[in-house]
């Protein structure tokens, strides 16, 4: 089994090494690194913005490029975190702690290079995990029926809500709002139009890409409009680590790969969560290394973890058709637009496609390493683009992205609406990730709910099916645990 998986992987690697695939993996890696470097434009918005570009391309080329954007962003996100203490990505927030301290000590180049090396090694380890875990999980998922998928969707929603913010009520509200947005348009079973308000353009529903462009792209521009302009370009001296320094980061890199991979398998275990976990674990392992005051381990742990996490996030997407974070939700949307339905059958029906994508991820990681090590100085200069030029460009690409989904100006207006909604929700402390994920999981949740209800003549018999029962129990236990933890924290704080 393992041997055949690796055989298929090497086959995929060969297919991913054609000039066309290499070109698109390169474009994705460059774009991803660029958006990672630039604070204010994350991989979610970029994948949404690049959606029109993929319309005329094959699904394979599209997914290779967009996956490149996602892991490229994890590589690039450390640059501003280390140089100017402004994380390019949420997953690089922890990197800024030790990275910026290293930069202040004159070790910015070294911090950037160990971040890139750790990202590469952990990313490749994550890919090995993906190769090993995905096929057996897909085989197991073949036994899933509508009740299991319904329970899985509920569990996914609960996990995302729990991990996306401190306030569970706000997370649940955002998730339910996303579900309501997903309900607009034709009912998936009867085809009856709902909640359209007589607007013909809403009969087709609210496209996830349009919502993502608004929620993550336009709202970010609005938030940054009030941020102080200008940026600092830090000087970079020595880049490459010595042999002794390389030896020092081996163990933290291995630990970060493990700490990043497993959270990536569950919904809500985003790169940001993984990097935080890995940093905390590394603090326990490297007590004498001065973590928090400019230690290499403090850069390696979060950067390795967020890359391993990206590889792991493809496991539930490919095997269960379940997105665990907003970029994965968009990749699922792109695959669906191209007529592919991720899930257990994809491994049987489209093995070449899947293994080429996985192979291209390895190639993409090599490209990211090559792009990030010698070109560190160039990426650092990108941080000096003033917001007055960057923001209008982002808005224009958002508008093109929204318009291109259905060639409709109505979608442009919708994107602006979601932009303002996103800004308002973020300003009021509501997380956006549950909303977007609910929008993508919503149709599956409704369809499987209807099927389960008809199949079992009600929803309560779902607990007689072991897999769905375990999933629902996990969801309940998780919610209860979170609430108890919150009460305990409040009581301890008050005491």
């Amino acid at each position: 089994m393992i041997g055949s998986s690796f055989g298929l992987f090497f086959n995929g690697l060969a297919m991913a090494s054609t000039p066309e695939m290499l070109l698109y993996a390169f474009i994705g890696a460059v774009m991803g690194t660029a958006v990672g470097v630039l604070p204010g434009l994350g991989p979610t918005a970029t994948i949404a913005l690049l959606f029109p570009v993929t319309m005329n391309a094959s699904p394979l080329v599209s997914i290779v490029m967009l996956a490149g954007v996602y892991y490229g962003a994890q590589y690039g996100g450390s640059t501003t975190a280390i140089l100017v203490n402004v994380p390019g990505e949420a997953s690089s927030v922890v990197t800024a702690i030790d990275g910026y301290m290293m930069a202040k000590k004159g070790e910015a180049g070294l911090a950037l290079s160990v971040a890139a090396i750790a990202s590469f090694v952990a990313g490749v380890m994550g890919l090995i995990g993906l190769v090993l875990i995905a096929p057996p999980l897909a085989e197991f998922a073949l036994a899933f029926g509508p009740p299991e998928y319904f329970a899985l969707s509920v569990l996914a929603m609960v996990l995302i809500v729990g991990l996306s913010g401190r306030n569970i009520i706000k997370g649940l509200t955002a998730g339910l709002l996303g579900l309501l947005c997903a309900l607009v348009g034709q009912d998936p079973i009867s085809g009856y139009p709902r909640f359209t308000g007589g607007i013909f353009d809403l009969v087709g529903g609210i496209d996830v890409i349009v919502a993502a462009v608004g929620l993550f792209g336009i709202s970010e521009v609005l938030i940054n409009a009030t941020a102080p302009g200008g940026s600092i370009y830090a000087k970079i001296s020595r880049i490459y680590p010595t042999l002794a320094e390389l030896k020092r980061i081996i163990s933290p890199t291995m630990r970060s790969a493990v700490m990043g991979f497993f959270p990536g398998l569950v919904p809500g275990g985003s790169p940001a969560v993984a990097s935080f976990l890995a940093y905390e674990v590394e603090k326990a392992f490297s007590r004498d290394k001065g973590m928090g005051s400019g230690a290499m381990e403090g850069v390696v742990a979060p950067e390795g973890a967020n890359n391993a996490n990206v590889s792991a996030a493809f496991v539930p997407l490919f095997t269960l058709g379940l997105p665990t974070c907003p970029p994965m939700a968009l990749l699922l949307a792109v695959l669906t637009v191209h007529g592919l339905r991720p899930g257990p059958m994809l491994f049987q029906q489209q093995p070449d496609f899947l293994w080429t994508v996985i192979g291209s991820m390895f190639v993409g990681n090599v490209m990211c390493l090559v792009l990030n090590l010698p070109l560190i100085r160039i990426w650092a200069r990108a941080t000096s683009i003033p917001n007055r030029y960057l923001a209008p460009g982002i808005v224009v690409v958002c508008m093109i992205g929204a318009f291109s989904v259905r060639n409709s100006v109505f979608d442009v207006w919708l994107a602006v609406f979601f932009g303002v909604l996103g800004w308002t929700m973020r300003s009021a402390g509501y997380p956006l990730a549950p909303m977007l994920l609910a929008m993508i999981v919503g149709p599956m949740l409704e369809r499987t709910f209807g099927q389960t209800y008809s199949m079992l003549n009600g929803i309560t018999p779902i607990i007689h099916r072991p897999i769905s029962m375990v999933m629902l129990m996990c969801a309940l236990a998780y919610l209860a645990g979170l609430q108890i933890f919150r009460w305990y924290s409040i009581r301890r704080g008050a005491g």
Binding site: L180, A225, T226, I400
Partner: protein, 157 residues
């Protein structure tokens, strides 16, 4: 009982009302639209989501009285923020009647000025360059359809 009645409470109240509205609309249409079975009704699932939303947001209203989080919308008083917000809305509205090229050039020039570009000429050059650049990339190179509006006067049909 009440410690804080702030924006947080108002937001939760708004979501409660929204959830209640969805519930009422779902009940209304649930009774009108015929379906072969309960679960097959197009308004059965929305009804459940609406009830869930109302209940959760109502819990939020109650919990917000004890919340120590204070949210303010200071950005609304910031000229840059309101300027960029108005220009984005105007851009979206203008895109269809005046076309992609003109609306993009105007939006970019205007928003660059709002966000701090002091030289008017530089803003205009930036707007035109970005507009033409994006047109070349997306419409010409990638073959995407973009709103034409008055652009037909420049490029012809």
């Amino acid at each position: 009982m009440s410690k804080n009645f702030n924006l947080d409470t108002i937001f939760h109240m708004a979501f409660t009302l929204f959830g209640a509205a969805v519930t009422v609309v779902s009940i209304y249409w649930f009774r009108i639209v015929p379906s072969v079975a309960l679960a097959a009704s197009p308004y059965f699932f929305p009804l459940i989501v609406g009830i869930g939303m109302t209940a959760i947001a109502a819990c939020g209203v109650i919990s917000s009285f004890w919340s120590t989080e204070i949210f303010t919308f200071q950005a609304l008083r910031n000229k840059r923020f309101t300027g960029i917000l108005v220009s984005i809305i105007a851009y979206a509205v203008a895109m269809k009647p005046i076309g992609f090229l003109l609306s993009t050039a105007l939006f970019c020039a205007f928003s660059a000025r709002i966000l701090g570009e002091k030289k008017l000429i530089l803003s205009i050059v930036f707007g035109i360059a970005l507009s033409l650049g994006f047109w070349q990339l997306f419409a010409v190179n990638l073959g995407l359809v973009l709103p034409r509006g008055l652009d037909v006067l420049i490029w012809g049909k």
